[in-house]
Amino acid sequence: MADKKTSEGKSRRDFLSILLSGGFFAWFIALLYPIYNFLEPPGEEEVKISHIDIGKVEDLEKDTGKIIKFGNKPVLVLRRSNGEYAAFGAICTHLDCIVQYRKDYGQIYCACHNGRYDLNGKNVSGPPPAPLQKFGVSIKGENVIVFEETK
C-alpha cells in the first residue's frame, strides 16, 4: 500500500512509527526507573542525638584525645594540657579519613595525607581545605557532655 501523504506531509506510516518508537521509549524508561531508584540507597536512619555523656572529667588524661561515637559520627574529644576539653568532628575535611590527636605534634593529625589542625580544629598544614566541624563540650557536675552546636 502506498503511503498517502496528508496535508501536513505526514503519512500514516510516520504516525505509526512515532507511536511505536515513542511506546518503546516509554517502556524503556519504565524499565529503567525502578532499577535506577533501587540503586539509590534509602536515606540512612539518622541517629538523632543532641548530646552524649562521655563520662567523668578525670576519665580522660590531660594532653590526650579519643574518638567517641556521636550517633553514627565519629567525634574527637581532646583534653588539652591545661585540662580544658574540646570536641571536633573526627572526619578530615580533605578526603574523609578519621583524624587523631598527636601528643608529639600537639596537633590534630590525619595520617592519610599528613593533614594537620591546631587544637581549635583549624586546618594549619597539609591538604585539608577547611577546619574540622566544632562540637560543644560542657561539664555538668562530674560529667563531660558533648553536644552538637546549633548553627
Binding site: 574518638i67 580533605h94 578526603l95 578519621i98 583524624v99 595520617a111 595525607h113 599528613n114 581545605p129
Partner: protein, 365 residues
C-alpha cells in the same frame, strides 16, 4: 589393535564434531596466523600474560568464594578463617592477591608497548578502546577487591578513593552515594563492592575481552611501521601456531613460577580489622598502581588559586587520562614509516612521571 584405543577414539570424536561444526576451517585459519618477528616481538607476549593471570584470578576467585562472606561482621573473620583454617587457604588467597598485582602490571606493560609501537593507529582503534576498558576494569577489580578483607588499610583507602569520586562536579555526589551505598563507607559499601567484584566486573570483563580478542584475530598482529614499504619476502614472520604459542607457553610457565614464589614466600598480610570509629593508621597507602595519583594529591596544597587543591589534582588527572585514552583521535597521522617523535616523548614523560611519584609514595614518610 583394539578398535577402541584412545587415539582412534579421539579421532572419531574429532570427526564427529568436525562433521557438524567444520573445525577444519578454524584450524586452517590458525595455521595461516603469523606474528611479525623483529626487535619488538617480545612485547607481543604481554597481552597473553595478562590473559593467563586473568584466568588465575577467575579460578582462585571462585575458590575463595566458597568460604568468603561479604558482610561487615563476617568479612574479616572469614578471610582470617581462609588464611588459618582452610587447607591451602593462605596459598589461594596469596595467589589471588599477587596475581591481581601482576595482572595490573602486565596490563600496564601491554598498554605502553601498544602505545610506543603505535599499534592503536587505524584500523585498530577499537582494539585500543576495548583494551582501555579492560585496563579500567582491572583497576575497578583491584579497588573493589582491596576492600573485601575489611581491614583498616582497605577501609581508609576506600574512604579516600570514593571521596575522590565525590569531588567530580554535578554527578559526584550521586555516584559517591551509589558506590558507598549511603553517605559513608559501611557494611553497605562492602556488599556493593562484593557484588561488583564477583559478578558485574567479571561479566563486563569477559565481554570486552572477547571483543578485544576477536578484533585481534580479524585484523592480525600489528606490523612495525617501517614494514609497510617492504616487500613481503623481507618480512620475517613466525607462525602463531605452534611457534608463537609454544613460546608464550614457556613464558606462562615462568610467570606461574614467579607467582608461586611470591605467593609462598611473601604471603599477603591481612592486617587489623576495620574499625569505623578509629583514627586512620599511619602509613595508609593504596595499592601501588594508584600510588602515583595518591602521592600527587597528598603533595598538592589545600588551596590553589581559587580552587581546592585536590579538585585541581583530580581535574588534571582526568584531562591527562582522557588525552591518553583518546590518543588514536588526536595523534597526527604521520606519513607511513615516519615515527611520531612527540608521541614517543609524551609516553616517556608519562612513564617517568608515574615512576617518580610511585617511588615518592613508597619512600616518603
Amino acid at each position: 589393535m583394539n578398535k577402541n584405543n584412545p587415539i582412534k577414539l579421539t579421532k572419531r570424536g574429532f570427526h564427529w564434531i568436525d562433521e557438524r561444526y567444520k573445525l577444519t576451517d578454524l584450524f586452517s585459519f590458525l595455521k595461516k596466523k603469523s606474528v611479525p618477528q623483529y626487535r619488538a616481538t617480545i612485547w607481543y607476549y604481554f597481552g597473553g600474560i595478562a590473559l593467563l593471570l586473568f584466568t588465575v584470578q577467575v579460578v582462585t576467585g571462585i575458590l575463595l568464594l566458597m568460604y568468603y562472606k561479604g558482610t561487615q561482621d563476617l568479612a574479616y573473620e572469614s578471610v582470617k578463617y581462609i588464611d588459618t583454617k582452610v587447607n591451602f587457604g593462605w596459598l589461594i588467597r596469596s595467589v589471588h592477591s599477587w596475581s591481581a598485582n601482576l595482572m595490573v602490571l602486565s596490563v600496564f606493560i601491554h598498554m605502553f608497548s601498544v602505545y610506543f609501537l603505535k599499534s592503536f593507529r587505524k584500523p585498530r582503534e577499537l582494539t585500543w578502546y576495548t583494551g582501555i576498558g579492560l585496563l579500567l576494569l582491572s583497576f575497578a577489580f583491584g579497588f573493589s577487591g582491596y576492600l573485601l578483607p575489611w581491614n583498616e588499610l582497605a577501609f581508609f583507602a576506600t574512604k579516600v578513593g570514593t571521596d575522590i569520586v565525590g569531588e567530580v562536579p554535578l554527578v559526584g555526589e550521586y555516584f559517591l552515594k551509589l558506590l558507598r551505598g549511603g553517605e559513608d563507607v559501611t557494611g553497605a559499601t562492602l556488599s556493593r563492592f562484593f557484588g561488583l567484584h564477583v559478578a558485574v566486573f567479571p561479566g563486563l570483563f569477559t565481554i570486552l575481552l572477547a571483543l578485544h580478542l576477536i578484533f585481534i584475530q580479524r585484523q592480525g598482529m600489528t606490523e612495525p611501521e617501517d614494514w609497510k614499504s617492504k616487500p613481503v619476502s623481507e618480512k620475517q614472520q613466525i607462525p602463531f601456531f605452534p611457534n608463537f604459542a609454544l613460546r608464550e607457553l614457556i613464558i606462562w610457565l615462568i610467570v606461574i613460577n614467579i607467582l608461586a614464589i611470591l605467593a609462598v614466600f611473601f604471603p599477603w598480610e591481612i592486617g587489623n580489622k576495620a574499625d569505623l570509629f578509629a583514627p586512620a593508621p599511619e602509613g595508609i597507602k593504596p595499592e601501588w598502581y594508584f600510588l602515583f595519583m595518591f602521592q600527587v594529591l597528598k603533595m598538592l596544597p589545600g588551596k590553589m588559586i581559587l580552587i581546592n587543591g585536590e579538585f585541581f589534582g583530580i581535574l588534571m588527572f582526568g584531562i591527562g587520562g582522557l588525552l591518553w585514552i583518546l590518543v588514536p583521535f588526536w595523534e597526527k597521522r604521520t606519513p607511513i614509516g615516519i615515527r611520531n617523535r612527540l608521541l614517543t616523548y609524551f609516553g616517556i614523560f608519562v612513564i617517568i612521571f608515574i615512576i617518580i611519584f610511585t617511588m615518592l609514595g613508597f619512600y616518603l614518610d
